[in-house]
Symmetry: C2
Amino acid sequence: MDYLALYILPEMSDIGLDHQSIRRFGPVLITLDASLDKPLYAQIRDQIRDRISSGALKIGERLEPSRELAKRLGVHRTTVSNAYADLEADGLIQGTVGRGTFVSPLAADLRRPSAPARRAHQDVFWQSFLAQEQRDDSLGRLMASALEPGVISFATAHGPDDLTPVDLVRRATDAVLRRDGAKLLQYGSSDGYAPLKAYLQSRARRDGIPLEADELLITNGCQQALDLIRHSLVEAGDVVVCENPTYTGLWNIFDSSDVRLIAAPVTPDGLDLDFLAAVLEQNKVKLILTSPTFHNPTGVTMPLAARKRLLELAARHQVPIVEDDIYGALRYRGRELPPLKALDTAGLVIYLNSFSKVGFSGLRVGWVAASRRVIERLRWAKQRADIHTNMLGQAVLEDLGRHGVLDKFIRRIRKEYAAKLETAERAVAQYFPPQARVTQPEGGMALWVELPAALDAGALLAKAQDRGVIFAPARYFYFHNPRHNAFRLCFSAVPNAQIESGVRILGELLHEEIGRLSRGKSAARADAGVALV
Amino acid sequence: MDYLALYILPEMSDIGLDHQSIRRFGPVLITLDASLDKPLYAQIRDQIRDRISSGALKIGERLEPSRELAKRLGVHRTTVSNAYADLEADGLIQGTVGRGTFVSPLAADLRRPSAPARRAHQDVFWQSFLAQEQRDDSLGRLMASALEPGVISFATAHGPDDLTPVDLVRRATDAVLRRDGAKLLQYGSSDGYAPLKAYLQSRARRDGIPLEADELLITNGCQQALDLIRHSLVEAGDVVVCENPTYTGLWNIFDSSDVRLIAAPVTPDGLDLDFLAAVLEQNKVKLILTSPTFHNPTGVTMPLAARKRLLELAARHQVPIVEDDIYGALRYRGRELPPLKALDTAGLVIYLNSFSKVGFSGLRVGWVAASRRVIERLRWAKQRADIHTNMLGQAVLEDLGRHGVLDKFIRRIRKEYAAKLETAERAVAQYFPPQARVTQPEGGMALWVELPAALDAGALLAKAQDRGVIFAPARYFYFHNPRHNAFRLCFSAVPNAQIESGVRILGELLHEEIGRLSRGKSAARADAGVALV
């Protein structure tokens, strides 16, 4: 056991630390037993960890300097340093130059049970497949069942088939292939098709975002933009703050063992800025990820004053903000708000958008607007990722944009979706029991439904599915501490007539379930298991 | 300096190691000086490193066990362990359980000068931009200049504009949008458009590769397949064997500080299998990357016997092979050879191909065929990367494929490219000096030209560019120990008339340069600088 030998230094035996030595460590006791197989540094580490998780050592509390603790425990300083290093790597403590070592505010957030399991299988190639994480593919199955005939699906966030702009795309494709066909079938530029970039620049200018060409990168939708950001701007051990809940495809990227992903609560005004301020105060944060307009899945929108405060916080700590504005164009009521990027005087906002939620998901075209330095990095990553985005989709969208067809189409679907939202809200008011609290979003594609604490949306889904209706349980949107008594109800893809019947079926089911709850409260609670308020 | 304190242990002063102590270490001397600022472990490490690079310690030579060396040097064992750990992290030595520690065969390959620079800037976000690697964008500039009017470009590997199948794509796009338009504009499946997968299965079966649907994944060309493999199959510290030279976009992905990328020489029969056998014998290799048919940039093809031996080696060591077959369809002469995947009985080959070299680069559609377990992993990575490949490109290629149009078109361009190859070879025979050795590939898009050792293809390019002709100097294709006296001459994109005039201009330049060489040999050698044989 060479590894252990590194830590159990010979002087241990020399200083009379025989079988058990108990000393006071700040407010707690550290018990060292040299006769154990477990190295001394690990004994120290694990006992401090236990004190933190029990609350005996509180967040923000200062730890004894390693030199002093080593002296008091009668061990070599290396032993304490090793214990501290492990605790720091786990995000439980953190050092600040010139101030000391403190219990980290991440201590409450970072002990995700899956992390060690993930790290465990870095061994033989084939073994790593066998030992592979048991990934949760129930979301994939849910999305697949949305395609089954006869199913009313409130599960996924996209437009209805009958509103896809097939004829517009068909005519535009024909036009661009006639005009620029040879070029569109050849390799293109990694930063994007120049005419599309020019069109997006003019569009951004209109929205109050003046952009140079080298501040813009075309991607395969926002998903790729997030993946490029992950791979080119975030390094091992970096701290990233992310809304919890959030879009599943976002946390799937950032929730890995080598990123310290901090779960920021989402309030009715969006990302919790008091929480964020505290995190920024105490951590070197690499990125803040947020979707301030029609947040997925909750639909909440950050008010103007909060947007300004968020930008001030980011500027003070010089932390870039990734702003996902994918739903921004889908406002049906309330006052238009500027995206963070339009308010960004410090050049810290990395702005993402795409054509995926306005009728063109299958073309896979989106874009990033950010400082030249960020775009330069992302462009290299894009080149490594797939050389460039498909040319045909880019050219079609440029053609539709330049001729004003795109804006006209977006106005049309905004009207259609607004009507769907109204239909959904009327049906909810009529059929849902009062115990189900439903948001009133000003835009986006979904309602967010909060249930009594004892109801589990996953169990509800199974029953709803039997009746031909599906939705997305809240838990898919949480990377930490999942909420079970809520779900997302996407109205955008559902034909109007089905919205009402679907909501009626769900309402009946909710009445039954809540009735059952009040009839046998204790039994229902036992069923609900891990339900959280 | 806490960091150093970890290593200069107190017992140092106790054992009479005063200012300088010289002891024999195997065949070499280790000199320790406790008065230096440099910690003892670093002194040991650096001296062993020097002995390895000077050849005093040879590859495969056994190092003294750390316990014994520590005793002989009179230092704590931790000190030697730390030195060994650093040397191992740098790939200079390696331990084999039960056998000891040896100088690694990687010692010759892994000391890439850029690696420490890369690791250095993991600090502040914005600083990391400023400190960013000085990336070599001369290749980007070269590719851009290929688009300038009047330039004869042998630089890039694609088809000519006048052969792009614009009308075929236009008709197919119209047909698929009429047939399946709503579906093509919606989100699709991460593993690919089902009809295209079915078509590729039938095509693979024809090529002797029976495939199930879950052994196939659609990607945005081979580039994305390589990136997905990098991110989902390769972990920090893994050893990957790669041909050197190889496709620039491949080594850009794998040549990172956390991968041990071993440069395998390319022989006239492809990947050097004797070298590979030795590497596999002595390392736990995670992946072998190879392009056995019309290798880019050299154009060499691995004979059947070598293919079988490669598969045997991989099977014996249970190491997967990534086979890039992107040029496989472009054979103009010689006998058709089965891809590795068709000979693969052990299920170890991860086969990559795309439609990018047969006229459809801009659509960004490629595929991976591999075992179910590999595809499952890549599919998750694909979902994180960009959800799915653009639907329009997939549907167009399926439509062209199913109607036989694709095969007919590939036959046509094969004929056209064969004629271009003949033209290029005739011109080379007529205009190039005999000192320029040119390959005779059986397919692909390029000739590979080897120059006298004293000529630098980069310097030659600058002069050729002044005369309106460009090509790709060899160095872009090497991630290690770049060769300077060679270049790739792509004929596929150049109109026939320009092939001859371009080769004539290059031939004149080569005659001049070689004439200058023989007139003033020593002066020319000084010019050539780092030229290697």
